[in-house]
């Protein structure tokens, strides 16, 4: 019950809740908008009305998703002033980047979304396609800028601390901080992967149900082609990201792997598949390990040194359970997606994915339906690892989380957090019900007819 009286902890919980809710919608906005742009581009190129139908059908779902994505994102922006005012006042770089994001990305998305969704009959097809592409560009730039801001918190560069404030001395270094490129790539691929698995999963569900099987075989095939590229790429980028974490944030890495003791020279560090870490006694109660693998992964040598948590003062240890297990969820999901992509690719090679044979691939289709929810688990797992693993720092090595929170009365934060749970819960439930309704209705005949030429106004 102490948590109810600790306003810093409540502010952290509130931010975590807001971020976890928001991201589950925004990853879809990024990827599904791109998917729609691809479909629309294919339609303009081939004139095949199936592609036009797909662009229209998925737009309807995108709009529902966009609405809730926007209103759940708004509180996150204000949270930096509401709950993290000392951080806002101290670290000006974060505000500059957020400001830049709103100017360059959010308005681009919002300014063209109207035409993308409602403007089919009001502008010529090519101008419509341009609007769709601007929405994609806007949402992709959002990913870029938010990752610039977040990666700077992971590996702050280009700044000096002066009179209690963090002053930027070099914007290029601060923006292109050491963590930026790899984590932006990892996150962007996560958006694409989640979206293609959701689009593929929904398409597989329609094929399984025998509804518009030929229509959805098309979107399934597009999802598959994307998966064949993205799933292996993500595993590779994820591995590179892990090596960067080891270099930049050794405490996070050690917590992610429940790695307590630095391996002595000549001995390899083992990779732990599962364990029960004990923070108080600084050891694992039990662990299932694969010898040498952790050293191999991080140093490309079977006996390379990997620093253990015990090498760092205990007050710099992140909460270990919340870093270790979410990381495993993400990694296992990543490999599951790779397996699914390879399996599907193999069936494709065998010719089993042609529209008339696809409905026979029952198990494969069920696996795709299951992969959608798993993709969300991977995204959430990855972000929990990234943010909890950075603790006790808000800005790694520069600002502690405990000194960055607004001195709000705990009761006020508890009330806003409770309110947030109620409202986000209500709206998410409504979103699920309404998206389910749209899916149950399926595409209508009009979605197979190309739009009329815009009226001469």
């Amino acid at each position: 019950m102490d948590a109810l009286f600790d306003s810093v902890l409540l502010s952290r919980l509130q931010f975590a809740a807001m971020a976890m809710v928001h991201i589950s919608f925004s990853v879809l906005t990024v990827g599904v908008a791109l998917f729609i742009a691809v479909m629309e581009g294919l339609w303009l190129k081939t004139k095949d009305p199936v592609y036009h139908g797909h662009a229209r059908f998925w737009s309807r779902l995108l709009l529902l998703n966009f609405g809730i994505g926007v209103v759940t994102g708004l509180p996150l922006e204000f949270a930096f002033g509401n709950n993290w005012a000392p951080f806002a006042a101290k670290s000006t770089f974060f505000g500059e980047i957020l400001g830049t994001e709103t100017l360059s990305a959010f308005m681009l998305e919002a300014g063209f979304l109207g035409v993308m969704i409602f403007g089919w009959n009001r502008v010529p097809p090519k101008l419509h396609f341009f609007s769709t592409c601007m929405v994609v560009l806007g949402s992709s730039l959002s990913v870029f800028w938010i990752m610039v801001a977040n990666s700077w918190m992971q590996s702050p560069a280009g700044v000096v601390v002066d009179g209690g404030r963090i002053i930027v001395t070099n914007f290029r270094e601060a923006i292109f901080n050491p963590d930026m490129a790899i984590s932006t790539a990892h996150m962007y691929l996560a958006c694409l992967q989640t979206s293609l698995l959701v689009v593929g999963g929904i398409s597989a569900w329609y094929v399984l149900k025998g509804r518009h099987a030929a229509f959805f075989a098309r979107s399934f095939q597009v999802a598959l082609v994307a998966a064949l590229v993205i799933a292996p790429l993500q595993v590779w980028v994820g591995d590179e990201n892990g090596r960067e974490v080891a270099r930049l944030q050794p405490t996070k890495l050690a917590a992610m792997e429940a790695h307590w003791e630095t391996n002595p020279a000549g001995q390899g560090a083992a990779w732990i598949i599962a364990a029960w870490p004990d923070e108080a006694n600084r050891r694992n109660h039990w662990a299932v390990e694969v010898p040498y693998v952790l050293s191999l992964l991080l140093t490309r040598s079977p006996t390379g040194e990997v620093k253990g948590l015990k090498d760092f003062p205990q007050d710099l240890h992140p909460p270990i359970l919340l870093t270790f297990y979410p990381f495993r969820v993400m990694v296992f999901a990543g490999f599951a997606f790779l397996g699914l992509a390879l399996w599907t690719g193999w069936r494709w090679k065998k010719g089993a994915l042609a529209a008339e044979r696809l409905p026979g691939e029952k198990w494969l289709l069920y696996a795709w339906v299951a992969a959608g929810p798993l993709a969300w688990a991977a995204v959430e797992g990855g972000w929990i690892t990234r943010e909890v693993g950075r603790q006790p720092w808000l800005v790694y090595g520069l600002v502690r989380t405990s000194e960055a929170a607004t001195a709000l009365p705990a009761g006020t934060v508890a009330a806003s957090l409770a309110g947030y749970f109620v409202i986000a819960g209500l709206l998410t439930a409504a979103f699920v019900a309404l998206a389910g309704r749209v899916l149950a209705q399926g595409p209508d005949d009009s979605m197979l007819n190309p739009p009329q030429a815009p009226s001469a106004r």
Partner: protein, 337 residues
Amino acid sequence: MDTLQTYLPDYFFLALGLILFLYMATDGYNLGLGIFSLASRSEEERGLMIHSIASTWHASQTWLVILGGLLFGAFPVVYGVAMSALYIPVMLMLAGLAFRGTAIEFYHEAPNRARWGIAFGLGSLAATLAQGFTLGGLLSGMPIVERQFAGGFGDWLNPFSALVAAGGTAGFVLLGTTYLAAKSDGDLRRRALKTAALAAWAVLAGLALILLWMTLQHREGRYSLLGLRQGHYIYLTLPIFLFEFAMLLRSLKKAEQDKPYQWSVLLFLTLVVGIAAALYPMAVPPGLTIFDAAAPPRSLWFLFAVSAVLLPVMLAYNAWQYLVFRGKAGQEDRPGH
């Protein structure tokens, strides 16, 4: 460069004023329309109102997001202080906007439209009131110690901010109904114009009460906007305001097409200019100036470059989107319908 640098906080003061005005002029009519929709006489009518803003409300709301982002970037101390002090009204505003926004998207897909219609109306009302209290709370002044808010978390709730909230609500209803009058026909249009006239008088009454309150407060020697160095500048905008008010009433009486909305927007512009002139160079009254609150020079230059390039571009494509959706609202554009 050094002389230019001293003007950077002024530039951001102006830019933020412009964005606040753009937010009020655009999302103001969305929110006002939402409040007016609570008085709609049929579900069909409400559907038309919601549809008339469905294609542009994202962009309107994004001005608020930009207002926050630019304030955070240019005046981080103000962002921290104001958002802490206004924690409760900001949370209420976010809750209102959450219902308002999702209701717009969900309404046409929902089996029970009335429920989302009410969420749209009440969400708009809550957000509008909360924004009024936020602005009123900010103008009421905030004590600051070491770059942090040092007052009470209930300070925003006072007679002055309540007057601002009431006046602001009337103002948004004015924007919403004059906008709706341009987008609709027949009985709905007639009622929108009638409500607009009532709202216009309520705005005038609200403004008179606010000025009266400030003048009385000032005499007692307590803090008010008028206590600032240029506080009396707010009186200078009054003649312009009254002229625009008369023109608005005239155009409402003649039931003109787009003019009532345009005069209402000008009223808001005059108000924003008046407040800005009275406030300058304060960022948070009574003591924090924009020069004390500004981010370090290098940061300001960065954000200056970004915003000076992007603001005109944003204005251009926003204008284009409005152009695409000009004319009376119809149902023909909905996806899947």
